[in-house]
Amino acid sequence: MQRNIITSVMVLVLFIFSASAWAEGRLVVYCSNEAFACQAVADAFSAKYDVKVQMTRAGSGSTYAKILAEKDNPKGDVWYAGTLDPHSQAGVNGLLEPYESPMLKEIGEKFRNPATSKKHHSAGVYAGVLGYSVNTDLLKEKKLPMPKSWADLTKPEYKGLIQLASPQSSGTAYTTLATIVQLQGEDEAFVYLAKLHKNIGQYTKSGSAPGKSAARGETLIGIGFLHDHALQKVNGFPLELVVPSEGTGYEIGGLSIIKGARNMDNAKLFVDFMLSKEGQEVPQKVKMFQVPTNINANVPKEAIRLDQVNLIDYDFVTYGSEEMRSKLIDRWAKEIKPMPR
């Protein structure tokens, strides 16, 4: 009896060991996109190249923190998605591996080398337009006009009806802050933000929360990246997406290889895959409506196309730097946040 148990345990152990020897290789992906999009991308890559993918999903801020904490002993191989600024910071701080993918020739000009360091630390893997969405049912109920610009949001009739994330915890909100600053100049921007502050019902922690709140009717207007809101609209919620008329900013999704990656070859393969037409069309299949940066890829009709809207020339280099981020976020925390509403 005992001998049988020992034998079967040994066989089991051997089996476990050999099972893992079957995969072609592995890859550890740190993903900062929505969970379902991350899973779809991981599955697609894993299936196509027979690579065992281990994927962690966390916000771009958390992921940057993790990569920084692990810098002497990196556990991740590649960082996919998440707004570009933390990628830029990671590049400047020497945490990323430069890589010029052969796929870059298919990528739009301004997405090839967008990060601050300009050393091909990161590539742009998607773009998303900043804007806000309005719950049309609630709008009708309250008999209010549809806002069309940034300036409209400061009108007194929208008091308490707007949600925006807090720049202290959300990259989305920081991009909003930086956009307003680039539209109006820094001091005027803070005058605007003070006025907007009076209409804010709540500053949320997560960047995609305002859109979801607007969809559910918990707030009238949610400011954020419109691809998140497009998903809600496709799911049947009564939302209207608004691109502010004065011009608006956009985010670039980053794609970077971590310095010292243990699976460097697979990491480069992943970057090539995600920059290709095939890779960029994967998120669309799961209703992730970010705009692909590959010029040959299909742009989903629900996505807001970059060439159809009035975009500002968002300066990723300046506004992605650590000093500028700290300066603006601290100023916001000091001047705007404590103000009464």
Binding site: I16, F17, S18, S20, A21, R26, E34, A35, Q39, Q54, M55, T56, R57, A58, G59, G61, S62, Y64, A65, L68, A69, E70, D72, N73, K75, G160, S166, P167, Q168, S169, S170, G171, A173, Y174, G201, Q202, Y203, K205, S206, S208, A209, K212, S213, A215, R216, G217, E218, T219, F237, R262, R325, S326, I329, D330, A333, K334, K337
Partner: protein, 708 residues
């Protein structure tokens, strides 16, 4: 020379003394580990590694220098037979073993590699030999089991408590760009917003402490003294909030009172602009708003979650008051109210103080509720989290705030120990002494009945909404019933959805529970029964274990265990250890209170008859301690399943646990799925509690928490 010492090997060994065989076993274990287990840490863990990776990590294959290890171990073999005088032998063991451990650590630090399983086993073997050595020198009167226990406990406390806390201190002194900044602590302390956060935390802690004490008192008096049937409901239902992950209560409050909450819907229906009670044309007296977010919400959630604990503390005290005092008062014609106020309450004053302080610490350390309900009311625990996971990473700020929270917690704990320390370990088994229990004053009982009924209804509605919420398509917008959430979680195969995290939670808690209990009872034993050098270390270590808030442990462990030589982040081991440490206070306190009831003469009798310490503990103490051990394991399991603040930083994709999974879904706004999962967790814990109760005949959780 023919001294009695050289005949040592021929003389039967004294009780507690190590047989040569024991030492040989340790040497063989070290040997075997070296040859078969990986010396260097495997990148992907034991079960995920390929054959090549495994072979590459064996010491003798890749690093010839490590062959010195088996040679070194072999040197001990001749010393296993005690042919040297006893004391000299002890010194040999001690010095060589400590040299060995030191060299291994130094080598790993020098090369920057991480220690693997075999390195750990070899270090353990050397530590055992070290312990045997100091026992022979005379530590603990030659009792090597106890000295081994002491060495083990000190080692665990040093590595898993002191080392991480020191790392936090270290981090405070290093600024964002890596340079030494000794005054950074003060700069951050006086920087904008920090004082507000500290103030917020204190205000919340004090109010929650006061509220839970008051309500806990009401419940306790009612449950013990009331004459209505309702008191049985209290005695059964109090357990619900304890087995619920803390922030699930917060989420259910949002479901009910949030902007899109059910209660708001009802109020809008009745009193809103188009409500049925509103006069035509007027605006109505009710408008949707986020009143639940912020102080109100957190206060409510924490009070609901923490009152049961203060209830258990106080009901234990009340049921052990000698009724004759109150009887005397009543026979002297004092009214029931006067008796209550002047006799009963003063008698339980230490318990009230204890409950208040406990409520304060729990509130300050709570992370889940402020995260979910905080809105813009920032408290220390959430600020620490966002210093790491927010928009701008700042380890210096996280560490500074963590230290503030730790000091706060330690201060309260010290007050508790000094002021009410005596009553912490009193037996509270609910033994009724002779005499009639004085019922409550009539008016008071009526008032309490109303209050408690409202409370129970509220709790009932909350839990109902949690279970219902899992089946509702989109709470607040679309109330159609659906099993889509549960399907997403449970029906896509065992490798996706909620299964991996649930399996991990169950597995880790299951492994952590016996470990916690063993360590807790061991610590309790050596602290209550033994005097030794190094006791201060353990004492202070246990104080830290009791006082340290979860987020602080999380940050400390990231800082301490993310780099070699002890690299544990990303593994299951660190989660198990974190859970064990979080639940250990209960094991220690339970062990201490149980041991203080047992007379030492029992052990002395056993030792007199030449049974060693190990056998004494095994055959004499364990059977008596069995109820304590069972309750401690049960409570540790529950605590580990519902912990969130410590593990939020440590859980990764491969080691995700239920609570962090739920939290990540909440953060993404998928409330339906989050609540569905939460309800399944609660259901699991309920089943577990009933199982334990059925097997042991009583709700063991109750006994453990009372002694907290």
């Amino acid at each position: 020379m023919f001294t009695s010492n050289t005949h040592h090997a021929l003389v039967k060994t004294a009780p507690g003394e190590t047989r040569p065989l024991t030492i040989l076993i340790w040497i063989i274990a070290g040997f075997g580990a070296y040859w078969f287990l990986p010396w260097f840490a495997l990148e992907y863990g034991l079960f995920d590694a390929t054959i090549e990776e495994y072979l590459a990590s064996l010491g003798w294959k890749t690093r010839p220098l490590t062959l010195t290890v088996p040679v070194f171990l072999a040197l001990f073999i001749p010393f296993a037979w005690p042919w040297l005088p006893l004391k000299r032998l002890g010194w040999v063991y001690t010095l060589f073993a400590s040299a060995g451990i030191g060299l291994i650590f130094l080598d790993f630090i020098r090369t920057g590699e991480a220690m693997g399983f075999s390195a750990a086993v070899v270090v353990m073997a050397l530590a055992a030999i070290f312990a045997i050595g100091i026992a022979k020198i005379g530590f603990q009167r030659g009792d090597s089991f106890i000295s081994g226990a002491v060495v083990f406990v000190i080692f665990m406390v040093l590595v898993f408590i002191f080392y991480p806390v020191i790392k936090i201190f270290n981090q405070v002194l290093i600024s964002r760009d890596g340079s030494f900044a000794p005054f950074q602590f003060f700069r951050i302390l006086t920087s904008f917003g920090v004082s507000r956060v500290v103030f917020n935390t204190l205000v919340l802690a004090i109010s929650v402490g006061a509220a839970t004490t008051l309500f806990g008192l009401i419940f306790a008096l009612y449950a013990v003294r009331a004459t209505t049937r309702l008191r049985y409901a209290v005695r059964i239902l109090y357990i619900l909030p304890i087995i619920t992950p803390p922030f699930v209560v917060g989420m259910s409050l949002i479901l009910l009172f949030g902007r899109a909450g059910m209660v708001n819907d009802v109020l809008m229906f009745l009193f809103g602009p188009t409500g049925i009670f509103t006069a035509a044309g007027s605006e109505g007296i009710f408008e949707r708003s986020g009143y639940i977010y912020g102080f109100t919400g957190i206060f409510l959630a924490q009070t609901l979650s923490l009152t049961p604990i203060s209830y258990m503390l106080l009901s234990g005290m009340i049921s052990t008051i000698n009724p004759s005092m109150e009887e005397a008062s009543l026979t002297m014609r004092a009214s029931r109210w006067l008796t209550l106020r002047n006799v009963t309450l003063p008698l339980i004053r230490p318990g009230i103080a204890n409950a208040f302080l406990l409520g304060m610490i729990s509130s300050a350390a709570d992370f889940g509720n402020p995260l979910v309900l905080g809105g813009e009311y920032d408290v220390l625990s959430t600020e620490i989290y966002f210093s790491i996971a927010g928009a701008q990473l700042d380890f210096g700020k996280a560490s500074t705030l963590g230290l503030i929270l730790l000091f706060l917690s330690l201060a309260v704990f010290m007050i508790q120990k000094r002021w009410v320390g005596q009553t912490s370990y009193v037996t509270v088994t609910g033994i009724q002494t002779a005499g009639n229990v004085t019922p409550l004053p009539k008016r008071m009982q009526q008032l309490f009945t109303v209050f408690i009924s409202v409370w129970l209804v509220l709790v009932g509605v909350l839990y109902f909404s949690i279970f219902l919420g899992g089946f509702v398509k989109q709470w607040g917008a679309d109330y159609s019933l659906t099993i889509a959430h549960h399907r997403e979680l449970w029906m896509h195969g065992f490798a996706s959805g909620g299964w991996p995290s649930l399996k991990n939670s169950l597995g880790y808690s299951f492994i952590a529970a016996p470990f916690t209990t063993m360590m807790g009872v061991l610590i309790a034993y050596i602290v209550t029964r033994k005097q030794f050098w190094g006791r201060g270390v353990i004492d202070f270590g246990t104080v830290l274990i009791f006082a340290i808030p979860g987020t602080v442990i999380g940050v400390a462990y990231i800082l301490a265990f993310n780099t070699p030589p002890v690299e544990l982040t990303g593994t299951a081991i660190i989660l198990i250890i974190t859970m064990a440490i979080r639940a250990m206070p209960v094991g220690i306190r339970g062990g201490m209170s149980a041991l203080s009831q047992i007379s030492p003469s029992l052990e002395e009798a056993s030792l007199l008859q030449r049974a060693g310490s190990a056998k004494t503990i095994r055959s004499v103490l364990m059977p008596i301690l069995r109820p304590t051990i069972v309750s401690s394991m049960a409570y540790s399991f529950i605590r580990s399943m519902t912990t969130v603040s410590a593990v939020i930083f440590l859980a990764t994709a491969g080691t995700n646990v239920a609570t962090t999974y739920i939290l990540s879904r909440v953060e993404s706004g998928d409330t339906g799925v989050a609540v569905a999962y939460g309800s399944v967790l609660i259901f699991t814990m309920l089943c577990f509690t009933f199982l334990v109760q059925a097997l042991t005949g009583r709700s063991r959780v109750e006994k453990q928490v009372k002694t907290q």
